[in-house]
Symmetry: none
Subunit: 414 residues, 2 copies
C-alpha cells in the first residue's frame, strides 16, 4: 500500500508558506501503516496538476492533495479534478446551506464566489468541512483513492481525521507498521552508529533503523513492517533493550519527549526544584526549561549575569576568582551555581559561562570554550567543553548539555 501527497499552491513554491500539512499527513498515514513514498509540491497550474495526477495514479494507491480550493481565481483544483475524472460540477445543496449559515452567522454578505464553493464534482463523495466553506472531495478510480482537501491546516486536519480516515479504513485493508524512537543527547551521530553497529547489522530486513540528528541530539527511530502490530512490538522489544544496554547512558527519553520535559518530569517525580545562573547561554537555558507548560512547579528563576559586575554583586562570585581565573573558569561557574542555589532556595542549580563568540576567544580559551556547573544538595561539580565556533549553536548545545548533566544527576536520586 503506497501513498503520495500533492501540495498545491504558488505560495509553497515561493517559500512564503512552509508546508507543515504534508508532514502531518505523512505521520497520520504512517500510523495507519501506509507508507508515503512521494511528495510533490506544484503551483496552481492546470497542465502540471493533470500530469502529476496521471503519474500518481501509476505509482500510488492513495493520493492526498491539499490546496487550491479557495474562493479566488487562482484556485483551480476543483476544475482540474473534473477534467481528470471526466465529470462535471454540480451544486451540493447541503454544502450550500452550510456556507450560507456560516455567512449569516458572521453577518457577512455572500459573494458569487462563495456560492460557487457549493459546486462539487458529480462523481466524488463530499468530505464535510466543519471549519470552513470549501468541502473536501473523495474520488475512487480503479481501486485507488484520490483525496482533495483545503490547504488551511486546521480545516484539513479535521477533514482528514473525521472523514478521510474512516473512508480509507472501509476501502482498504492496511498492513501493520510500528515505530519506537529513542532520544539521545551528548553523543554524535557517527559515534552512536559505531557503538550500535552490531545491533544495526543484525536487524532483519523488515526492521529499519534511522538516525535523525538535530543540534545536540540524535533521535534513533526503529520501524518494523509486517502483518501484526503485536508481533512487531514483541520483535522490537529485545532490540530496544539491547540499545539501552549498549548506549543507555546517552538515551534521555523516548518518542516525542524533549530533554527539558524529561528533566522537568524527573524533578516533579522527586519533588525537587531547580534554578539557573547563566552567562554565555544568555537566557536560552531558562527559555528551554520554561517552554514546558507547568514548569513553574519546579523552576524558580535565573540570574542572567552577562556583565561581570552582576556575577560579582548579585551572584557573589569573588572578585579574586574573576581576576585570577576569569569568568570562563571552573571556579567562577561553580560559584555561580552554588550561590544561585542558595539565593533561590532550590535543590539543584545549573550555571553556564563560556565564550559564544564570534569574538572574545584567546589561545588558552578559544571561542566555544564553555564551563557548566551543577550544584546539588550534596556537591557541586563543573565540566568544560568546546562547543564549536557558531554562536547560536554554542548557546543551544550548552543549554542542552546543562540539562543533560542535571538529568544524569537526577537519575541517581534513590
Amino acid at each position: 500500500m503506497k501513498a503520495e501527497i500533492i501540495s498545491i499552491g504558488d505560495e509553497l513554491l515561493l517559500g512564503q508558506v512552509i508546508d507543515t500539512n504534508s508532514a502531518w499527513i505523512g505521520q497520520e498515514l504512517n500510523k495507519l501503516g501506509v507508507q508515503v513514498h512521494h511528495k510533490s509540491t506544484i503551483g496552481d497550474a492546470r497542465e502540471v496538476l493533470l500530469k502529476t495526477l496521471s503519474e500518481s495514479a501509476e505509482r500510488s494507491d492513495i493520493i492526498v492533495m491539499t490546496g487550491g480550493l479557495g474562493p479566488t481565481k487562482d484556485d483551480l483544483t476543483k476544475h482540474i479534478l473534473c477534467e481528470f475524472f471526466e465529470t462535471k460540477l454540480v451544486q451540493n445543496d447541503a454544502v450550500l446551506a452550510w456556507v450560507q449559515s456560516i455567512f449569516s452567522k458572521r453577518n457577512l454578505p455572500m459573494l458569487q464566489s462563495n456560492n460557487e464553493q457549493a459546486l462539487v464534482p458529480e462523481s466524488c463523495e463530499v468530505l464535510w468541512n466543519r471549519n470552513g466553506t470549501a468541502p473536501g472531495m473523495y474520488f475512487l478510480q480503479n481501486g485507488k483513492a484520490f483525496i482533495s482537501m483545503p490547504g488551511v491546516p486546521f480545516e484539513m486536519k479535521c477533514i482528514f481525521e473525521e472523514e478521510v480516515i474512516p473512508k480509507l479504513k472501509k476501502q482498504f485493508s492496511f498492513p501493520s507498521i510500528i515505530h519506537r524512537t529513542l532520544l539521545t543527547a551528548s553523543i554524535g551521530e557517527s559515534f552512536l552508529a559505531k557503538k550500535i553497529a552490531n545491533i544495526e547489522d543484525a536487524l532483519p530486513a523488515h526492521i529499519k533503523l534511522a538516525y535523525l540528528p538535530s543540534v545536540g541530539a540524535v533521535r534513533l527511530r526503529l520501524s518494523a513492517y509486517g502483518k501484526n502490530t503485536e508481533v512487531l512490538a514483541l520483535e522490537l522489544n529485545p532490540i530496544v533493550d539491547s540499545l539501552y544496554h549498549t548506549i543507555g547512558e546517552y538515551i534521555f527519553g523516548e518518542e516525542e519527549e524533549t530533554l527539558a520535559q524529561v528533566v522537568g518530569k524527573l524533578l516533579q517525580q522527586n519533588n525537587k526544584t531547580v534554578a539557573t545562573a547563566e552567562s554565555c547561554t544568555g537566557g536560552y537555558l531558562a527559555h528551554m526549561i520554561t517552554s514546558i507548560a507547568g514548569s513553574s512547579a519546579y523552576y524558580k528563576g535565573s540570574i542572567l549575569a552577562y556583565d561581570n559586575a552582576i556575577k560579582e554583586n548579585i551572584l557573589q562570585v569573588d572578585a579574586s576568582i574573576l581576576l585570577q581565573h576569569g569568568a570562563v573558569s571552573e571556579a567562577c561557574v561553580k560559584a555561580m551555581a552554588t550561590h544561585v542555589r542558595t539565593l533561590m532556595q532550590t535543590d539543584y542549580a545549573i550555571a553556564t559561562s563560556g565564550i559564544a563568540g564570534p569574538t572574545g576567544g584567546t589561545d588558552e580559551k578559544p571561542v566555544g570554550t564553555v564551563w557548566i556547573a551543577i550544584a546539588t544538595p550534596e556537591h557541586c561539580f563543573a565540566k568544560v567543553f568546546n562547543m564549536g565556533d557558531h554562536r547560536g549553536r554554542t548557546i543551544e548545545r550548552t543549554a542542552l548539555m546543562g540539562l543533560d548533566l542535571l538529568r544524569k544527576e537526577l537519575r541517581t536520586i534513590k
Copy 2:
C-alpha cells in the same frame, strides 16, 4: 529559467521532520529572479532518486537537492549521484584535512565513516561546508546545474549563500530583479494591507508587493522586475518613501535586520545600556537580545523571577503589590523594571509578566494577558496586551513587543 527542489530523506516522508529547507531555498532563488516550479520529496532510495533526477533534467535548469549526505548507512545520495553522472568517488584532500581538523579541535577520534565524508564524485565541484563535515556538490550537465547539499539547515544555508549563489551567477544570466524589504512589528497583516491599499493599488505591473508574516512581525517585500537594476532602484525609492510616510511608526528596520539588532544598534549609537526582568517570557527576551554577537556591550543581564518569591526577594516587589494586584499587574511589572534598572545600573530596563498558559487564566486575566514595562532614565510606563492562547507564541510576541516598546523609546533620544 526554471528551478526545482528535491528533498531527500525518509524522515520527511514519515513527517518526523518538517521540511523548512525547501521554503528557504524557494525564497532565495526567487530573490535571484528564478522561479521554483516543482518540489519533490523522496526517500533514501536508489531507483526513485535516479528517476527523479532524469525527470528534473527534462523540466528544469537548476536542480537543488538536500539531504542524504550524512555519514551513516541510510545516506545514499552521493553514491546515486555518481551513478547518474557516470563518475566515481575520489578522495578530496582538502575536505579530508577539514574533517580531520574538526575532529582534532573537538578532541574526538576519527571514524572510518568520517573519513568517507571526504570522498566526492570526480566530476563535481566541491561546495565547501564551513559548518559541517559533509561537503556539497555542484554538477554541470548539458547546461543544467545540479546542486546537492546536506539537509542540516544551518549547513545548507551557509553553503547555498557562500558557494551556490556565486556559482549560479557565473553560470547563468539572471533577469534583473531587485527587492526592498521593510520590517514591521506590532500590527497585523490585514490592518497593514488596509492602511497601504492605495499605495498597493497604484503599483505598476512590474513591481509586486508581498506580505510575509511571522509571529509578531510582517515583512513587506517590494520586488521590481526589469532590465536595469539602477532604474529599478530609482523606481522603488518613492514607493518606499510613501510606505514610511503611511506606516512609518510600525517599521522597525529593513532587509534582514532583527528587532533585537535594531534595538542593539540604537543602544550602542547612544551609548546606553539595558537590563531585563522577566517572568512570563522565561528567558526568551534575554535570549533574543543575547543572540546578537556583541550584545555584551549594551546588555548587562536579567533577573528571571519565575517564582513570586524571587520577585519579592531579589526584585523587591512589595508583598502588598503581589497580594493586592497579583504578579500580572501594572504595579508589579513597573516595580520589576524600576528595580532591575537600579540593581544592574543600566539606562533602560524591560520587564514582562503575564499568563502564558495553558493554565492559570481567570475571567479577569485570561490566558494571554501580558503586562510589559519599560523603565527609562526619565520615567517608567507599562502596557497590557492579550497575546492569545498559544504558550509559545505568547512568549515570542511578548519578547518582540518588549523590544519594540524599547525601540520607540530609544528613537526619542535627542
